[in-house]
């Protein structure tokens, strides 16, 4: 059976996948409608007359100037303490979460593959390299990753790019371990010896013959890694170390809203539930993928 057929049997994974597709569309749509000079959904418009309006309340057109009126004249997710439209801010924040998730996991996966690959491929002939790299991995794993990120973020200016870089640079250890283990077993395989006997260079053997064979666990850990990166970014924003205001992120909206938890609970519930669902979907899909890629499940 193919991977896709196995995946299709897993209802939860498909549910996760459907929700992820919805999230992608939401984020891309959000990028289009909230950026530019005069965005359709303006996340920056301040309407002090209309603050803390509950979801689906109508905008009072008499007190607002025409460019302050939200699309369709309603606040779908309500407004915050400055009268900003929460739906517009959620749209803007979705793109941040998406890019932070993908770029930081891209960075960490690339580092993990290179470092794990070196340890796995050269480790047997040069034990020193292997000891050095596994030692480095163990040391990095000693620190709880969120506090490591937090510490680094306290020293560097908060921007979406530094967050991506810092999350990426502190979360490569799992991938490196996977790749090292896979490479250790792959390098003993007959087809690698056969490839050497054909005169292939080491570079080609590592990247064209070994890496594709090691990709399945890497892919799974990347999927799960995206969820944790989104969570880390939200946590950073919540603590005020994230993307600086007025740029909206889900963690930031959550953080701003907690002061009005009883007067305007939607300010915390909406971003909180959104983060919950996105992270849950990535995890469900990642776990489904792991099961589907497991060769033992195939006949």
């Amino acid at each position: 059976m193919s991977t896709w057929q196995l995946l299709k049997k897993n209802r939860l994974a498909i549910l996760g996948l459907v929700f992820l597709l919805f999230f992608f569309l939401f984020a891309i749509f959000g990028l289009i409608v909230t950026s530019g000079k005069n965005p359709i959904f303006n996340p920056y418009t301040i309407r002090l007359q209309e603050k803390l309006k509950p979801p689906f309340s109508k905008a009072n057109k008499e007190v607002l100037s025409p460019d302050q009126i939200p699309p369709f004249g309603i606040y779908i997710f309500g407004t915050d303490d400055l009268g900003r439209d929460v739906f517009s801010r959620m749209l803007q924040g979705a793109w941040v979460s998406l890019t932070v998730g993908f770029v930081s996991v891209g960075i960490s996966t690339a580092i993990g593959i290179i470092i794990g690959g070196i340890a796995g491929y050269y480790g047997k002939e040069h034990p020193f390299v292997d000891i050095l790299i596994t030692g480095m991995i163990d040391i990095m794993l000693c620190f709880p990753s969120f506090f490591l990120v937090l510490t680094v973020m306290a020293f560097v200016p908060g921007s979406i790019y530094t967050i991506m870089a810092v999350i990426g640079l502190t979360n490569w250890m799992g991938t490196a371990r996977f790749v090292r283990a896979e490479f250790l077993s792959l390098r003993e395989q007959d087809f690698i010896l056969a490839a050497k006997a054909l005169g292939l260079s080491e570079f080609r053997i590592i990247f064209r013959h070994m890496l594709p064979n090691a990709m399945a666990p890497v892919l799974v850990s990347a999927t799960l890694g995206i969820a944790s990166a989104i969570l880390i970014e939200a946590g950073l924003s919540f603590l005020g170390f994230g993307v600086p205001p007025p740029y909206a992120t889900w963690g930031g909206i959550l953080s701003d809203g907690r002061r009005y938890l009883f007067d305007a609970p939607w300010l915390t519930f909406i971003p909180g539930i959104a983060i919950l669902f996105v992270v849950l979907s990535f995890n469900l899909f990642g776990e489904g993928l792991r099961d589907a890629l497991n060769p033992r499940l195939r006949e």
Binding site: D190, F191, L193, A197, L198, L200, P212
Partner: protein, 320 residues
């Protein structure tokens, strides 16, 4: 003309700080367009010998001395980059296990094309055409279709044919076949051996065929080297070895071929077991199993003595 000459090759494993000799003064040569067989039991160092020719021995093995001369160059001395250009282009090798020797994630076509691309700069269409011709040559039906197949979709025999196609794709001068038919069933084995004979004629190949199967040797060899525990104990042309074996080990091997065995007659075998390469007996490595061994056999290593033209034996007890 000798295309390959191995001289006094010594190879050892480093174990617990000491060197354990696994290949002991291996010397042999292959002439142009000749088929040379190396025969021996499992674990006698046949594979190690073939791997050391193209310098792909496991990292724990160290070459301690000797020469591997291929077309006038000592392959043990040239830089790795030059060696890579020789592998697959001048010298190709086919391994025993067709089931695991192909990369499971790429199609046959991709792997075959890559083998050509890395050694020759020719256009995509030409490569494609050459691959299909090669697959046809090695006897794979509907070659165009098979180019897009993955290794697991082929049978063992077909995979070995693909491996052969990959090995000959750049028209190498020397082909090393390391027990290429051992993992296949007998009918397929016969077809593959037939294929080797055909390819040899068509491509003007020199073939170094490593096997433990004496019937295969009788079928294809011009000259034979008999190997025992990391040492070549007897060498000669196929008639000398089969009709006039001198070394007690060669005799034992030939006697133990199950050929026209009568009812109730037991199969003959050589008593004892093959010694581990890491634990070789002193002197002549065969002495613990030899019917007629004497004192000198476990004290001194026998030298190669030639009894007639090209027929050499390493045995102290050789009369004359």
């Amino acid at each position: 003309m000798r295309i390959l000459e191995v001289k006094d090759l010594r190879l050892g494993f480093i174990q617990d700080g000491r060197i354990v000799l696994a290949l002991d003064d291996i010397s042999f040569f292959v002439k142009k367009a000749e088929t040379v067989c190396i025969v021996g039991e499992s674990g006698c160092g046949k594979t190690l010998t073939s791997l050391s020719i193209i310098r792909l021995t496991p990292p724990s093995a160290k070459i301690l001395g000797g020469k591997v001369i291929f077309e006038g160059r000592n392959l043990l001395k040239i830089p790795e980059k030059e060696m890579r250009e020789i592998r697959g282009k001048e010298i190709s090798i086919i391994f025993q296990e067709p089931f695991t020797s192909l990369n499971p994630v790429f199609t046959i076509g991709d792997q075959l094309k890559e083998a050509i691309y890395i050694h020759e700069k020719i256009s995509e269409e030409e490569v494609e055409k050459r691959c299909i011709d090669l697959l046809k040559l090695v006897g794979i039906p509907s070659a165009e279709l098979r180019m897009k197949s993955y290794p697991h979709q082929l049978s063992g025999g077909q995979r070995q044919r693909v491996m052969i196609a990959m090995a000959i794709c750049c028209r190498p001068k020397l082909l090393i076949a390391d027990e290429p038919t051992t993992a296949l069933d007998v009918t397929v084995q016969a077809q593959i051996i037939e294929l080797f004979r055909r390819l040899k004629q068509e491509y003007d190949l020199s073939l170094l065929y490593v096997t433990h199967d004496l019937s295969v040797v009788a079928h294809i060899a011009d000259r034979v080297y008999v190997m025992y525990s990391g040492m070549i104990v007897e060498e000669g042309d196929v008639f000398q070895i089969f009709y006039n074996p001198k070394h007690p080990y060669t005799r034992g091997l030939l006697e133990s071929i199950p050929y026209k065995v009568k009812r109730k007659e037991r199969l003959k075998s050589i008593p004892g077991f093959t010694p581990d390469l890491l634990n070789r007996p002193s002197g002549c490595p065969f002495h613990p199993r030899c019917r007629s061994s004497s004192d000198i056999c476990f004290k001194e290593k026998p030298e190669m003595r030639y009894v007639e033209n090209g027929h050499g034996v390493r045995c102290h007890l050789l009369e004359g």
